[in-house]
């Protein structure tokens, strides 16, 4: 510590080379004495430092004790005659402590703070940011403050900076009366004290900053609390009663440290402000204020409101008089601030805060009041609006209720007589009470049909009313659009046939389930179809198409009728308009169908529109959203039909199905695709036929008489003559696991779609795209070794992929016959591989065998359902079973002996 010479420039000593006093070290005795003294000094300094530090520690918030201690010790230890400490205050240095120097000197210094950059010691220290020693202040040209020098009577002086962050926070000054410069060691010591002093100063400054922040925070918290209270009061009682405004004015008075206040609200028709509430106000004054008229633009506060800005009257006496101010003055009020409550460029109220003393309101207070004011303005407005809204809503509810009741009772009323009309007509037609002659029958039919027509009309009107009243609720669910269209076409088929109108229905691949209210959507379909048929002349055609369009399904109904002229096109969607669509004006039509249809589709989130050309026909189109998540199934259909190979001459499919209709259907599908089909009606016959004709593939129902499907399957697989024949199991239940375990190549659940069946059969029958290649994907090389060991000898070419990422790449590249896939892999796991492979049309149909040691949860199985061929557990799945499965999945055409490469 002693003799330590700080290296950095800031505290480099600046001394005349000859200034430092040299110790005497000539003789051993002198040296010993010197050492003794050094030790004594060291001990003293330790003690001094210790005391300083303690002082700092004790009084963290006050600097005077610290400064005093530091200077006192410094003076003593440095053997100075006086010591001073200056502290930076703004842009001057002020004397904060002085030890020695005399009364007059100290007073003089106190009265003359040192400015930065002057020719004083402090100035020099500050500008150089380092210690400065002047051997003789009287003679040194750098030192210019001679008055001080003369008063103090000093000669050698040294100034040490106290550096805090980037500035000289203070300076310690020591001086001696004589020209007796301080030595290095001494100066070093002072610098230590200076450092300590700097720390103390910094601490205090930080603390003060902290305090100030805390105070600000506390203030903000107070304000927030006040605002919150106001908000709460407002929302709790959206009715604008006195309570809310009371809260506002009370908080405002409190937070602004004022004595009282009032809130005035604008009475719009009168153009005047009226007192709503006040705080800190005597009842007498309140009464007065209520009485006084404050028109907008008149009186002090009225003018503030007209201006739209807060206005202060720091002394009410100084303002031009008005009734309001007079009343206040009479009651002892001396100053006020008027803050308009603004809402959309208009003052809807005035918040007045007043004091019993004169004076300004601080800017912070004004800001706060303005915040409160705007808050209150919003509150007042909201409350007003809310009240209106409540009233309106009530009215609407009443009206709505009436409307509903009306609809309900009207519905009942209208239907009742129709009961009689339709009912009795039917009774007569049934000949319940006697025979009818032809003329009578004809008439009664007319009566009944008219009755029915009327009933339809009433129903449609009610539907329409309900939609308009927002009361129609759709029961949205999953509906099969192809089925709906099928049914719709079936309904108009008879009529179309009668008029020689050709009906066409084309459903593009990908059209499947839609999100719809089945009943209502059917209504739309029937409406469009019957219109089309109705308005197409004999011999024409009506063509229905459905295709996927984005996330919707687009359906078009095109007819070859006479078309609809331009001016009618929108009109026909209006209620009861039956545009000039042809000579055959409808007996059955209600004129509501299209209106309703459009509304119904709107509710579904779809659209209905039409295009037409006179003389060429009309096309009505509508969209309805697809069922989310149902796109998986449609996409499968797409890929299927794309690449169906032509079956060869020898390709016979054996269908084993006992239900006649199902069998016929299957046969139809298969023959349609070019296969020859043999049918067996029970298990025994099925087995028999299989052995005899050796079909290319078998489509096997599970519920069979005599021998059930599982048994058939098992036996087929046990018999070497039939073991290689791929079997497509078709069942009512999903027992895929059992199916594959027994050796099924494919498993379909009824009802089986056309495409699904063909795809399955094709997969069984078509030559494997990948020849004899298998890609095995696993993150464990040992597992891959195992697969190779098992399948290699069987003639398979096993391509290894380490991990999911590589696996996907390799499969896309190789297009193997089969993929063997582990599930638990880091990064890209088996599930993701399945996703990605299935999404790639090039390899979407490659069978995947999952070989995993994962404990499969129901959710796991669900993720893989329908997307993989076999799920097997490592360990329990035997090697020969694996070979079997792979062989089956990658099987070639019929006739290929088992195990042949």
């Amino acid at each position: 510590m002693l003799g330590r010479r700080p290296q950095d420039e800031d505290s480099a000593t600046h001394m005349d080379p000859a200034a430092a006093a040299e110790p005497d070290t000539s003789t051993p005795e002198a040296r010993a004495a010197r050492l003794e003294r050094d030790v004594a000094d060291a001990i003293e300094q330790q003690a001094a430092t210790s005391e300083v530090l303690q002082t700092i520690g004790r009084s963290a918030f006050e600097l005077e004790p610290v400064f005093e201690t530091v200077v006192r010790h410094a003076v003593r230890l440095c053997d100075a005659d006086a010591g001073l400490m200056y502290r930076l205050d703004g842009d001057v240095y002020r004397l904060v402590t002085a030890v020695g120097g005399g009364e007059d000197y100290r007073r003089y210094l106190a009265e003359h703070p040192v400015a930065v950059g002057t020719g004083t010691l402090v100035g020099l220290v500050e500008s150089g940011r380092r210690t400065v020693q002047i051997q003789d202040a009287e003679s040194d040209p750098r030192y210019l403050w001679q008055e001080a020098r003369e008063l103090g009577g000093f000669h050698s002086i040294v100034g040490v900076p106290m550096l805090a962050a980037d500035r000289v926070a203070g300076v310690i000054v020591l001086w001696r009366d004589e020209v007796d410069p301080f030595d290095e060691r001494t100066i070093g010591l002072v610098m230590t004290f200076a450092a300590q002093g700097a720390i103390a100063i910094q601490n205090v400054e930080l603390f003060q900053a902290l305090q100030q922040r805390s105070a600000e925070l506390a203030r903000s918290v107070d304000e927030l609390r006040a605002l919150e209270e106001v908000s709460h009061a407002v929302s709790a009682s959206l009715a604008l009663d006195e309570e809310v405004l009371q809260t506002v004015v009370e908080r405002a008075v409190e937070l602004s440290g004022a004595d009282g206040g009032s809130i005035f609200e604008l009475d719009r028709p009168a153009g005047e402000f009226a007192l709503r509430t006040c705080a800190g106000t005597s009842p007498t004054l309140a009464g007065e204020l209520r009485r006084i008229r404050i028109p907008l633009g008149e009186t002090f506060i009225g003018r503030a409101a007209a201006d739209g800005r807060a206005r202060q009257a720091t002394d009410l006496e100084a303002e031009p008089s008005d009734a309001h101010l007079e009343a206040l003055k009479a009651d002892g009020w001396r100053s006020l601030i008027a803050v308009p409550l603004r809402r959309e460029q208009e003052s809807i109220g005035i918040l007045v805060i007043r004091r019993r003393t004169t004076g300004r309101f601080e800017p912070q207070t004004v800001t706060l009041l303005e915040t409160l004011a705007s808050h209150s303005a919003v509150a007042i407005h909201n409350a007003r609006v809310f009240r209106e809204l409540e009233a309106k809503t009530q009215e609407l509810e009443v009206a709505s209720r009436h409307k509903s009741e009306f609809l309900a009772s009207m519905s009942h009323e209208l239907r009742t007589p129709l009961n009689a009309v339709i009912g009795f007509s039917d009774v007569l037609l049934e000949r319940m009470f006697g025979e009818l002659n032809p003329r009578q029958e004809e008439y009664v039919l007319d009566i009944r049909n008219s009755g029915r027509h009327l009933l339809d009309l009433i129903n449609e009107i009610l539907d329409l009313s309900r939609i308009e009243a927002g009361r129609m609720e759709l029961e949205l669910g999953a509906a099969s659009l192809p089925d709906l269209l099928d049914q719709g076409v079936a309904m108009v088929r008879e009529r179309a046939l009668r008029h020689g109108i050709a009906l066409g229905l084309t459903i593009a691949p990908g059209v499947g389930m839609v999100r719809a209210d089945e009943v209502k959507l059917m209504q739309v379909v029937v409406n469009l179809l019957s219109n089309a048929v109705k308005f197409t002349p004999d011999g024409g055609s009506v063509d229905v198409r459905a295709e996927v369009s984005g996330t919707d399904v687009l359906v078009t109904v095109r007819d070859t009728g006479i078309g609809i002229p331009e001016e009618e096109r929108e009109r026909i969607f209006e209620a009861f308009q039956r545009g000039g669509r042809g000579a055959r004006t409808s007996v059955e039509g209600t004129g509501l169908g299209l209106t309703l249809s459009r509304r119904i589709l709107d509710l579904h989130g779809g659209r209905l529109w039409m295009e037409s050309a006179v003389g060429e026909g009309s096309t009505f189109s509508f969209t309805v959203p697809q069922l989310a998540g149902a796109t998986a199934a449609p996409r499968e259909r797409e890929t299927a039909l794309a690449a169906l190979p032509e079956p060869g001459q020898a390709d016979t499919i054996l269908v084993i199905e006992d239900d006649r209709r199902s069998a016929e259907l299957l046969q139809l599908y298969l023959e349609d695709a070019g296969y020859r089909v043999a049918v067996a009606r029970d298990g025994v016959d099925g087995l028999d036929l299989a052995r005899r004709i050796a079909p290319t593939a078998v489509v096997l129902d599970v519920l069979l008489p005599r021998l059930n499907g599982w048994d058939v399957l098992a036996r087929l697989k046990r018999d070497p003559d039939t073991a290689a024949i791929p079997v497509v199991v078709v069942s009512m239940l999903d027992e895929r696991g059992a199916g594959f375990a027994l050796g099924a190549a494919e498993y379909l659940v009824k009802p089986v779609h056309h495409e699904e069946l063909l795809r399955a059969v094709t997969r069984c029958v078509a030559p494997p795209a990948g020849g004899r290649t298998v890609v095995a994907i696993d993150d464990d090389p040992v597992e891959l070794d195992l697969v190779e060991a098992v399948l290699g000898p069987q003639g398979w070419s096993v391509i290894r992929a380490l991990g999911g990422e590589e696996g996907v790449r390799v499969v896309a590249r190789e297009r193997p016959a089969v993929v063997l896939l582990d599930l638990l892999m880091p990064d890209v796991d088996g599930f993701e591989v399945v996703e990605r492979l299935r999404a790639d049309p090039r390899v979407a149909d490659v069978p995947i065998v999952v070989l995993t040691s994962k404990d499969m949860t129901a959710a796991d199985c669900e993720r893989l359902r329908g997307r993989i061929s076999v799920l097997a557990r490592k360990g329990t799945f035997r090697q020969d079973q694996l070979a079997d499965v792979v062989r089956r999945l990658g099987a070639g055409r019929a006739g290929q002996p088992e195990g042949a490469p």
């Binding site: 007319d446 049909n449 008219s450 000579a583 004006t585 007996v587």
Partner: protein, 127 residues
């Protein structure tokens, strides 16, 4: 022109047409039918019926315009025309009569009133 009095029915709704025709047939009148105003005008010129039962709400040209046309041509100007309408407003009767119709029937048609109105309009009935 034959001796039997003839009534032309201009009506686009087949069932309504049938009702009117059957009732008039039953009473003994000969009937002609037209589904549009244009057809009706053509038939009126050609066959000169004694009375025309004219539906007002017709597709294309309506019954009122048809009346104007009938009155504009000497050949048909003298034919008696009854307005048949479903518009059931109070003032309609006056309105149609003022427009030049000789009679007015409201739908649903009263099947007893119908033959009476027609009979009253037949030539010779005024006497």
């Amino acid at each position: 022109m034959s001796d039997e009095p003839c009534v032309l029915i201009v009506e686009d709704n087949p069932r309504n047409l049938k009702l009117v025709r059957d009732v008039l047939d039953h009473v003994g009148y000969r009937t002609l039918e037209a589904g549009t105003a244009e057809e009706g005008l053509a038939l009126a010129r050609e066959r000169q019926p004694e009375v025309i039962l004219m539906d007002i709400q017709l597709p294309g040209m309506d019954g009122v315009e048809a009346l104007t046309r009938l009155r504009a041509e000497p050949a048909t100007a003298g034919i008696r025309v009854v307005a048949v309408t479903a518009m059931a407003m109070k003032q309609d009767r006056e309105r149609f009569l003022a427009a030049g119709f000789d009679g007015y029937l409201e739908k649903p048609i009263d099947v007893r009133e119908l033959p009476r109105q027609v009979a009253a309009l037949m030539p010779g009935a005024e006497t």
